[in-house]
């Protein structure tokens, strides 16, 4: 319950990307950048690389290209995840080299299933110490990950599974819109972004547009009120090469092209130098 007293002070400030990352990140922080192929906060991830944070504990269901980049850049000590690949393309070679060869630094792994990660985010948002669900029947992950435990339903005796709740120091997401007041709206494939924000001690939201007033298409639209968000940052195109429903499409070619860059340390380092020498560009 420590967190409730933090939350009182949460109130969205409109900041620049540099400010928001510099204010809320710190070396060793647990950081979740979510987006289930949609609305992936690439620009914010790149700014973390530029600012050179170290030993981050990254959390994400589907670490993809942006996490490959953060790992390759040497920002990451540990990864909690459930599926680490370049979706529809192949491997994340920076992720693989960190695990297989300890390059550029060893990567500790806390591996779960999607069901477990999704439940763990929801548990974090709900102030629960753990998520309890049904899963992992006969799967070996339970044997190699001590943070997966079993318990019995107190009524039926049925075997249930528990994993610790996810409580990031900082969650970063990209959304379509925010109001000037800092209320945020997401639409389309919404993934676990709401849960990731509500589970976090601080939340940064980059957005395509800042509007005077949100005008949700439905009373039940997915909205994060300003008092659940720490910083709102106007970053049009901030999800590229992933996509923003209603704004731009997924750049599939960029994902396919990443294969060759990721595979080759030298090409990756060239990519990294170029990133560091430029501000985010849309």
């Amino acid at each position: 319950m420590k967190r409730c007293f933090l939350i009182i002070d949460m109130q969205a400030k409109i900041q620049t990307l540099q400010e928001a990352i510099a204010t809320h990140l710190f070396d060793g922080a647990t950081v979740a950048m979510e987006g289930f192929t949609h609305l992936i906060p690439f620009a914010a991830g790149h700014e973390i690389i530029r600012q050179g944070f170290k030993n981050l504990e990254l959390v994400r269901m589907t670490p993809d290209m942006i996490y490959d980049q953060l790992i390759g850049a040497g920002c990451v000590r540990k990864l909690r995840f459930s599926w680490g690949g370049n979706p529809g393309v192949g491997s994340l070679y920076r992720l693989r080299e960190a695990i297989e060869k300890g390059y550029p630094q060893p990567l500790e792994v806390d591996e779960h299933s999607h069901a477990a990660m999704a439940a763990a985010y929801a548990a974090g948002a709900s102030g629960m110490p753990c998520a309890i669900f049904k899963g992992y029947y006969g799967a070996d992950l339970e044997k190699v990950n001590p943070s997966i435990k079993t318990l019995a339903c107190p009524f039926t005796g049925e075997r249930l599974v528990a994993v610790p709740a996810i409580r990031p120091d900082v969650t970063i997401i990209h959304a379509q819109k925010a109001s000037k007041k800092g209320d945020v709206s997401l639409e389309g494939i919404v993934g676990v972004q709401k849960e990731a924000v509500l589970a976090a001690k601080a939340a940064i939201v980059t957005v395509e547009e800042i509007v005077d007033e949100l005008q949700p298409s439905s009373p039940n639209a997915v909205i994060l009120p300003s008092w659940t968000v720490s910083a709102v940052v106007h970053v049009p195109g901030g999800a590229k090469p992933s996509y923003a429903h209603g704004y731009y499409s997924r750049d599939n070619k960029a994902y396919m092209d990443w294969e060759a860059i990721s595979k080759d340390r030298e090409r990756f380092n060239e990519w990294l130098q170029e990133l560091k020498s430029t501000d985010y560009a849309v």
Binding site: F36, T37, H38, M61, T62, F81, S82, W83, G84, G85, P87, G88, V89, S91, L95, R96, I99, E100, E111, S113, H114, A115, A118, A119, Y121, A122, F133, K134, G135, Y136, Y137, G138, A139, D140, L141, V144, E158, R159, G188, I189, V190, G191, V192, K194, E195, V222, Y243, H245, S249, R250, N252, K253, Y255, M256
Partner: protein
């Protein structure tokens, strides 16, 4: 009409899907097979992708599990926690598709590591939704190209549980779902033998020799008493599949 082995696998997989199925669709061949079924004999089949899109009807195949096309053509899109709790764990999905780097004769699948988990030779992407897809979908179909490296006596790591090492183990765990019931490969169709929990060959694709199947299987493969010859893809099926692939290719290069 000529066809290649990927086309054959896709067509064969599409045929086993029913109009009333609710499918949890993975990217790649399962996605192609499910959408081919929808475009041919099962127009009302319900396709669900783990990104949260329910009852989606994409015009092109998504590259990723959460492409915009899936959401735009869906009846509704729910959050990922809801997808895994109310829909998958809730027992709403009739068919799940799985593939992997390794599978054994009991349908246990490995998509996690080659070698030791803590010091892997090859780190694979991991399970994603697979452990719970294998548990909660009413049945599981597997689509994989056959080779002795992939069809192994014992998987290095059980990412998703099939039938363990024999029949009755699923039930003993409290699972009432059937688990992997069919494997569609480029050479044949295998099905679970009830008495042993093992996969045995029940249908051989046209022109494939039994020896070829054994050579590409890491365990001593058995054949059903009556083995069928798989029907060749029909013109209509191939045309629909090729049109879908063509549209997809153009969209992804765009």
């Amino acid at each position: 009409m000529q066809y290649n082995s990927t086309e054959l696998m896709t067509v064969v997989a599409s045929r086993i899907l029913k109009n009333s199925d609710v499918c949890f669709v993975g990217i790649g061949l399962p996605s192609a097979a499910c959408n081919l079924a929808r475009l041919t004999h099962a127009p009302d089949i319900t396709l669900i992708y783990e990104s949260g899109t329910i009852q989606t009807k994409p015009d092109v195949l998504p590259l990723s599990i959460g492409d915009g096309e899936l959401c735009e053509t869906a009846l509704t899109t729910v959050s990922v926690p809801e997808m895994f709790s109310y829909w998958l764990q809730g027992g709403r999905i009739t068919v799940g598709f799985l593939g992997g780097a390794q599978i054994d004769k009991f349908g246990n699948i490995n998509t996690t590591v080659v070698g030791d988990y803590h010091k892997p030779k090859v780190r694979l992407p991991g399970g994603g939704g697979a452990p719970e897809i294998a548990a909660f979908c009413h049945t599981i179909y597997v689509i994989m190209k056959q080779s002795p490296r992939a069809f192994v006596e014992k998987v290095d790591f059980i990412t998703s549980f099939g039938h363990g090492d024999g029949p009755g183990q699923r039930k003993a765990m409290g699972l009432n779902t059937s688990g992997p019931s069919k494997i569609i490969t480029d050479l044949c169709i295998m099905e679970t033998e009830e008495a042993t929990g093992e996969f045995i060959v029940t249908s051989i694709h046209p022109g494939v020799a039994r020896e070829t199947i054994q050579e590409n299987t890491g365990w001593k493969i058995r054949f059903a008493e009556e083995v069928a010859i798989t029907d060749v893809p029909e013109l209509e099926e191939l045309e629909a599949l090729r049109l879908l692939n063509e549209k997809t290719k153009m969209a992804h290069q765009g």
